[in-house]
C-alpha cells in the first residue's frame, strides 16, 4: 500500500534487464530496421515502417513483463504493493523498454533517411518529420501495450493462446482502417507522397484511452486472480 511505484518499476526493470528476455525482441526489431530502412530512402515512409514494426514488438515485450515472475514471487510483491500496482509496474516497464526501441529506431531513421518526399522532389523538414515519426511510434507503442496487456496473464490465461491472439490482434490493428495505428501509418505514407508532415494527433488521442482501458482491465483482474 505504501510502496511507491518507483520501487516496483525499479524491480521490474531490473528483472527484465537481468533476465535477458528483452534480448530477442530487441534483436528482432534491430533486424527489422536493418532490412527495411534504406540509406537515402524517403524519411516519412521510413518512420512509418519503423513505427509499424514497433507494434508487435511491444506486444511481445508486454507479454514478457506480464509473466516475468514465478507465481510465488509475484504473490510476495502483490501482497506488499497490491496486485493491481504490481501489474501496472510490469506493463509500464514493458512500455519503457519499447520506448527505448522507439527512440533508437527514430534516431536510426533520422540518420539514414533522405528528408524528401517519396518522389525525392519535395523537401521534408527533418524536425517536424521526426516529431511525427515519434508520435506515430508512440501510437503503435500504446496499442501494442494494450494488446500485450490483454493477451497475457491475468486476462488471457490459457497457455498457448497468448502468442497467436497477440499476433493476430497486432496484424489487425495495423491493417484495419478503423484502427488508430493504421490511421497514423496512413498519415505518414500519404504525407510522404505529398511532401507534407501530418502530425498523428487524432490517432494518439484515440490510442491513449485504449491503452489506459486495457491496462485498467489487466490490473483489475490481477487483483482477482492472484
Amino acid at each position: 500500500m505504501t510502496a511507491s511505484l518507483t520501487a516496483l518499476l525499479r524491480y521490474q526493470a531490473a528483472l527484465l534487464a537481468r533476465s535477458h528476455r528483452w534480448l530477442p525482441p530487441f534483436l528482432v526489431y534491430a533486424a527489422f530496421l536493418a532490412i527495411g530502412v534504406q540509406t537515402g530512402g524517403p524519411i516519412l515512409d521510413a518512420y512509418g515502417y519503423a513505427a509499424a514494426g514497433l507494434l508487435p514488438v511491444t506486444v511481445w515485450l508486454s507479454r514478457i513483463c506480464a509473466a516475468n515472475e514465478p507465481p510465488a514471487a509475484r504473490r510476495c510483491i502483490a501482497a506488499a504493493a497490491g496486485p493491481g500496482r504490481a501489474q501496472l509496474a510490469a506493463l509500464l516497464t514493458a512500455a519503457g523498454a519499447a520506448l527505448l526501441l522507439a527512440l533508437g529506431g527514430t534516431a536510426f531513421v533520422a540518420l539514414l533517411s533522405d528528408p524528401h518526399s517519396a518522389d525525392h522532389r519535395t523537401a521534408v523538414p527533418v524536425g517536424p518529420a521526426t516529431a511525427a515519426g515519434l508520435l506515430t511510434a508512440l501510437v503503435c507503442l500504446l496499442l501494442g501495450g494494450a494488446i500485450g496487456a490483454l493477451c497475457s496473464w491475468p486476462v488471457l490465461r490459457r497457455p498457448g493462446w497468448g502468442v497467436p491472439a497477440g499476433l493476430v490482434a497486432a496484424l489487425l490493428l495495423l491493417v484495419l482502417g478503423a484502427s488508430p495505428a493504421n490511421a497514423a501509418l496512413t498519415g505518414m505514407v500519404t504525407g510522404s507522397e505529398r511532401g507534407t508532415v501530418l502530425m498523428p494527433w487524432l490517432p494518439l488521442a484515440a490510442a491513449l484511452p485504449l491503452a489506459a482501458a486495457a491496462a485498467a482491465v489487466a490490473c483489475a483482474l490481477a487483483a482477482r486472480r492472484g
Binding site: 500500500m1 505504501t2 510502496a3 511507491s4 520501487a7 516496483l8 525499479r10 524491480y11 531490473a14 528483472l15 537481468r18 533476465s19 535477458h20 515472475e69 514465478p70 510465488a72 514471487a73 504473490r75 510476495c76 510483491i77 502483490a78 501482497a79 506488499a80 504493493a81 497490491g82 496486485p83 487483483a223 482477482r224 486472480r225 492472484g226
Partner: protein
C-alpha cells in the same frame, strides 16, 4: 506498541467463488484481525484456507462482503522456487524498497535478516542456485524485513530446517509483540502452540472459531500446549508487572519477592526484551529454558488440553512434525 491497539482489519460477510456459477469456496466469513494478534487457521486440504489467506493478504478480492482496514501486508508462500535473476541480497533489497524502505535501510535489513537465518553466506548467491531451505529463508526474510503490520504465513515453515523454524517462531512472536498481526496456516498442530490468540477452522466453506480449553467437544481437541519458558523477574519494590506483556504470560509470585512469568517459548525473547526495556527496567533472576508443556495441574494461560502422547511431545527447542 501496545497489544490490542486500535488499528484492525475486518472481514465482513466475506465470500469467494470462482466463476459466476462456481461453488462457494468461502461464505459469510466474519473475522476481526486485531493489531498484535496471532491467529491460527486450520482446515483440511481443499477446505478453502489458502483462499482465506489469499484474501487476507490482499492477493484476491472477495466475491461478496467487504474487507476493511487493510494494513501494510506481507505474505510468505509455502514454496518459493524463485527462478529470479537476482542474488538473495539484491532481491531482498528490492523487496524492502517495495515495502517502502529507502535503499540503504533496505540493504541493511536484507543483510541482517539473512544473517539472522544463518544465510549470510548466500547473500551473493543467485536465487536460482539456492537450496530449497535457503530459498524459503529468503521468502521469510522478504516478508519480515520491513516489519509489516499484517503478516500472512501459508505453511511458511515447510521446507525450513528445525533451527530456522524456531527462528521463524520467535520472529513471529516479535512481530506480534511489536503490535503487528500474524495469521498463519501450518500442518503441524504444535506450531506456536499456546502462543496463538485464537484458532479458526475452515470447514464447509465457513470459518468456525475453535474454542480454547475443555469447552471444546471431544472431536475438536483443545489447542495443545507447546513448550513454555519460565522467567523469574524482579521489579521495583511493590510495582506490578508492566501491562500488556508479549505473549500474555501467566504471572505467579516467585521466590524472594520475584514474579514468576510462564510464557509460550516462542514469546520468551520478546517478553525478556519488554521486561529489560521497561521503565523502570525489571531485573531478570532466572530463565528456565523451554521445556515440555507443564502437567495438567501446572498454572497455565489456558486450561490444558488432553495430555499429548509421548512421541508428539515437542523436545526443547524444536518443533517436530507429526
Amino acid at each position: 506498541m501496545p497489544r490490542g491497539a486500535a488499528a484492525r482489519m475486518r472481514l465482513d460477510g466475506v465470500g469467494r467463488r470462482y466463476g459466476v456459477r462456481g461453488p462457494w469456496i468461502l461464505r459469510e466469513v466474519r473475522l476481526d484481525v486485531p493489531a498484535g494478534a496471532l491467529l491460527r487457521v486450520e482446515g483440511a486440504n481443499g477446505s478453502g484456507k489458502s483462499t482465506l489467506l489469499r484474501l487476507l493478504a490482499g492477493l484476491d478480492r472477495p466475491t461478496a462482503g467487504r474487507i476493511t482496514g487493510r494494513p501494510r501486508t506481507a505474505y510468505v508462500p509455502e514454496r518459493f522456487p524463485a527462478a529470479l535473476p537476482f542474488t538473495a541480497a539484491a532481491y531482498l533489497t528490492h523487496l524492502g524498497r517495495v515495502h517502502g524502505l529507502r535503499t540503504p535501510e533496505a540493504a541493511r535489513r536484507a543483510a541482517e535478516w539473512l544473517e539472522r537465518f544463518g544465510a549470510a553466506g548466500h547473500a551473493r548467491t543467485p536465487l536460482a542456485e539456492l537450496s530449497k531451505g535457503t530459498s524459503q529463508k529468503v521468502a521469510v526474510a522478504q516478508a519480515l524485513l520491513a516489519g509489516p503490520d499484517l503478516l500472512v504465513l501459508d505453511e511458511a515453515w515447510t521446507g525450513l530446517d528445525p533451527a530456522a523454524r524456531g527462528l521463524l517462531d520467535r520472529a513471529v512472536a516479535e512481530r506480534v509483540a511489536a503490535g503487528g498481526s500474524v495469521v498463519f496456516v501450518d500442518h503441524d498442530p504444535g506450531r506456536l502452540a499456546g502462543a496463538a490468540d485464537a484458532r479458526y477452522r475452515v470447514a464447509d466453506g465457513r470459518l468456525h472459531p475453535v474454542p480454547a480449553g475443555p469447552a471444546a467437544g471431544p472431536e475438536q481437541a483443545a489447542e495443545p500446549r507447546g513448550p513454555v519458558a519460565v522467567i523469574e523477574a524482579e521489579g521495583p519494590p511493590g510495582s506490578p508487572p508492566p501491562a500488556a506483556l508479549p505473549g500474555a504470560p501467566e504471572a505467579a509470585p516467585g521466590p524472594g519477592g520475584t514474579i514468576r512469568l510462564t510464557v509460550p517459548a516462542a514469546h520468551s525473547d520478546a517478553l525478556l526484551r519488554a521486561l529489560l526495556t521497561a521503565h523502570p527496567p525489571w531485573h531478570i533472576r532466572t530463565v528456565t529454558a523451554p521445556g515440555p508443556p507443564p502437567g495438567p495441574h501446572a498454572p497455565g494461560r489456558r486450561p490444558p488440553g488432553p495430555p499429548a502422547p509421548g512421541p508428539d511431545t515437542p523436545a526443547p527447542g524444536e518443533n517436530p512434525r507429526p
